[in-house]
Symmetry: C2
Subunit: 510 residues, 2 copies
């Protein structure tokens, strides 16, 4: 029998610590597994060994193991050595380039969700999916396994619409226009969104400055059916929970295995009750999808998996070469989106992208081809979208009287001026994100960047090209320093004028 | 400034824990990296986040980070966010199937040795080498990188011999015969050996029952040059230290990437000053190398890498289908090896294998082809090998008067009888190991198994087939139970007699 000690560290896996003498006696090595049994329940955990932290006869349970075993400190438990989970054999099978069956994939995903795999084993799984890939059948089965190991939402409506951007472009606040437009047309669009992982801000980070975003599956169903649209944080519900655990391990490696991206998106949407989905796939350097070819491959496979899941999927391959609109950062983006809904001055890229995608969604419903975009424009320009947005904000517990002018962005600001005459040759998405994060985004809600000069635009010497906002003077200074070093907006001299002049036509209207 | 707290857990990597509010404020996520700087030195560590273990302003250093930063508890340090190491890019390059340059491989190995990589990143490296492989040039560079990141030994002698078994066969105590035979012939053979990881006992575990095995590089050099031979524990010196750190991560995945096996063996031998090496590659089910083809591929590549390192390498592909000799377990194997040196009754497989390999080593030196094995036999049978063994034991601080009869093996024993008449069809190496480990090996020095009936031998009903030894009654009982369940020795009935009779010729003399 062992006495429980609590060690308050969250290692992301079930971990326990044994005294080295006990481990030696039991023939247990670091990273072996033990079963810890109390009278009421038992868990399997991974062992780390300590020379001095615990006395012989004590077992230290890290946060997750402690809270799930539900025993008091100093109570007695039985500890026995157990073999490694069979899912490790399936991970090795994938490492060897073999195809996995549904049951093998389900076993892996179950062990991930039940925290039976260590970070090492999880990293091997991610690496194997990254290097060996999965065929469409496996990807579908992975999607099903991710759905099956979490909660699902069922709406009392036949068609449930949604929109998802596979990310990588800063300033992509289109959701805040699309959802109210589509909902105002009488469609049901219960959008779950995410917080920033490595970006400047996710849709959840933006919408959070306007209203509450954390709801249970039941509440989401209730609000969406009443108002027609929601924008809520997907992390607040237990939908496809394997995804977060997988992302935790992908993050340090900065990899996004192709099949895993598809399965994660599709599992979350399917589990959320969606059956009509438009996917935005931004293409460009420094986005998730670097080439048009890869974007087309994603499109084909998303649509094919959708077919298998009885979900109609359409993909919009969009321009991801520079930020969407001018604002990057939670409050700055909320302000820009509200201004668009209020029919104030709004960047063309935000306007065009939002209407095109909203139009696609409308045409996935009963509207005839060619009528979606004009209808979306009408809803936006008539103020119906703004009205719907206010309903959504209120239904989620926020203040519906908010306006773009009432929003207070970061009070510390610094304007950067051009040191030359020329044209904007490129804007580096990753650098923009770095600066916004240095200024405090996404946690610092007022932090971010306003970009005044976009690709192809003419710039005079000493003309403002961007302004950094922050809630903290120290962070502003850091972000300014970083901006001066990284130069997110590249301005080419006049020599290139004739070439840039014609290239710039695409976006000159910003 | 942060105040240092100590957390006595050895996570195998530099890990620190931050309060969640501080991490939030600094924009740091779990598994990000920080630089911790005191006045004297700085280290880079991986961050885990705790809600309640630490107060804001405190940083918890896990064992390795704490001991290497060399600061007191409650002293103040500076903590700043730092980017992930560039070696992660090279790991991704290998995951993508690209070839790595020497500098890229060296960067990875340096980051492993300096504990700059997390378990997740290390697992991705191992997985990438496993799935993508390395070509010979990369394998050589990996070997060089592993040598360069540790200590090396230089002997004052032109030819330095060694022997290494790539493992997987229980009872393989041949080193205890080979080293004294070769040393008695006047050759320098400073053998470094390892402890058991998943086997019943390593050579280091066996020799430890006879003398000390833990020495510094300088002491090894000194003893070997005086006596001619040593058998020491390789883990006691800082030779190719990357190996242990890599094994730590391979262990839970139970993988042994091909190129990594070659690089690890060759790096350790080269760094230990060896330039004449015989490799024993046991082939058989339940050994590391399952097929003859794979054994040949290993042989070719070991020899090719040897050429690049100015090391002459010869490989002996040996029979690994059942244990070598009859004894498995530290004291039981030491007793069997001593009995052989004392020219007492000794199993043929141990005798043959030891003499063949010793003969190969002798012929790598000045001895003409065909004279090595007879010379080895002469040294063994004349008692010269025993004399050398006693010198080695004494030089390493043990009692040279030890004899096979003075060795006391586990006092709790259980004899298993055959329940039928027949012939031994097969012996399962893995099952033998499991039973020996259940009995307490390798930590329980007296624990193990004596096998009386080997492949092809005739067995009567109620005749003893094996005896389990243990230092503990409880462990003996467990091991006996396991043996009865797993039946390590498969006995076929008389129907198969004629077939087995001829098959059995190979080994009937045991």
């Amino acid at each position: 029998m062992f006495t429980i000690k609590r060690i308050d560290v969250d290692a992301g896996e079930y971990t326990v610590i044994l005294n080295s003498a006990d481990a030696y006696e039991m023939g247990i090595r670091s990273l072996d597994r033990v079963k810890i049994s109390s009278k009421k329940r038992s868990i399997t955990a991974i062992v780390e060994i300590s020379e001095t932290m615990l006395s012989s006869g004590e077992i230290g349970l890290l946060t997750r193991a402690f809270s799930d075993l539900k025993e008091d400190i100093d109570s007695e438990v039985d500890v026995t050595s157990t073999p490694r989970p069979t899912s490790i054999e399936y991970i090795k099978k994938k490492m060897n380039g073999e195809e996995l069956s549904f049951n093998e994939i389900l076993r892996i995903i179950k062990d991930i969700v039940n925290k039976n795999l260590s970070n090492i084993e999880l990293a091997a799984y991610i690496s194997a999916v990254y290097t060996r890939g999965m065929n469409l059948r496996e990807t579908k089965d992975l999607t099903m396994a991710m759905i099956e190991t979490g909660d699902t939402i069922d709406f009392n409506k036949e068609e449930v619409y949604d929109f998802h951007s596979i990310g990588g472009v800063p300033g992509n606040k289109v959701t805040l226009l699309i959802v109210p437009i589509v909902a105002a047309a009488g469609y049901l669009i219960p959008k779950t969104s995410s917080r920033a992982i490595s970006s400047a801000c996710g849709t959840a980070d933006i919408f959070e400055v306007l209203t509450n975003i954390s709801f249970s599956a039941e509440e989401i169903e209730h609000i969406a059916e009443r108002v027609g649209g929601t924008i809520v944080w997907g992390g607040g519900v237990n939908i496809a929970p394997a995804d977060d655990l997988i992302i935790h391990v992908e993050y340090p490696l900065a990899i996004d295995p192709y099949s895993q991206v598809i399965a994660s998106v599709m599992a979350k949407k399917k589990a959320a009750g969606v059956n009509r989905l438009v996917l935005d796939i931004p293409v460009g350097p420094n986005t998730k999808v670097a080439t048009f070819e890869l974007a087309k491959r994603y499109s084909r496979d998303f649509i094919a998996i959708g077919d298998e899941l009885d979900m109609r999927v359409q993909c919009a391959i969009t321009y991801g070469g520079q930020p969407v609109g001018r604002a990057v950062g939670p409050l700055l983006e909320a302000r820009e989106a509200l201004a668009a809904l209020e029919n104030k001055k709004v960047p063309n890229s935000l306007f065009e992208k939002s209407l095109s995608i909203a139009g696609m969604i409308l045409e996935m419903g009963p509207m005839p081809a060619g009528t979606g975009r004009p209808r979306a424009k009408d809803i936006l320009c008539s103020g119906k979208a703004l009205k719907k947005m206010k309903e959504m904000i209120e239904a989620q517990g926020g203040n519906p009287d908010v306006t773009s002018e009432s929003i207070e962005v970061g009070k510390y600001t610094h304007e950067t001026l051009s040191d030359r005459v020329g044209y904007v040759d490129s804007i580096n998405n990753k650098t923009i994100v770095k600066i916004a994060r240095a200024a405090g985004a996404p946690k610092g809600k007022g932090a971010g960047i306003m970009i005044y000069k976009k690709r192809g635009m003419k710039v005079d010497k000493d003309e403002p090209i961007y302004t950094i906002y922050s809630d903290s003077k120290a962070k502003l200074d850091q972000a300014v320093k970083l901006g001066n070093k990284l130069r997110p907006i590249a301005i080419e001299g006049m020599v290139l004028e004739t070439i840039k002049g014609s290239n710039g036509m695409d976006v000159y209207d910003e």
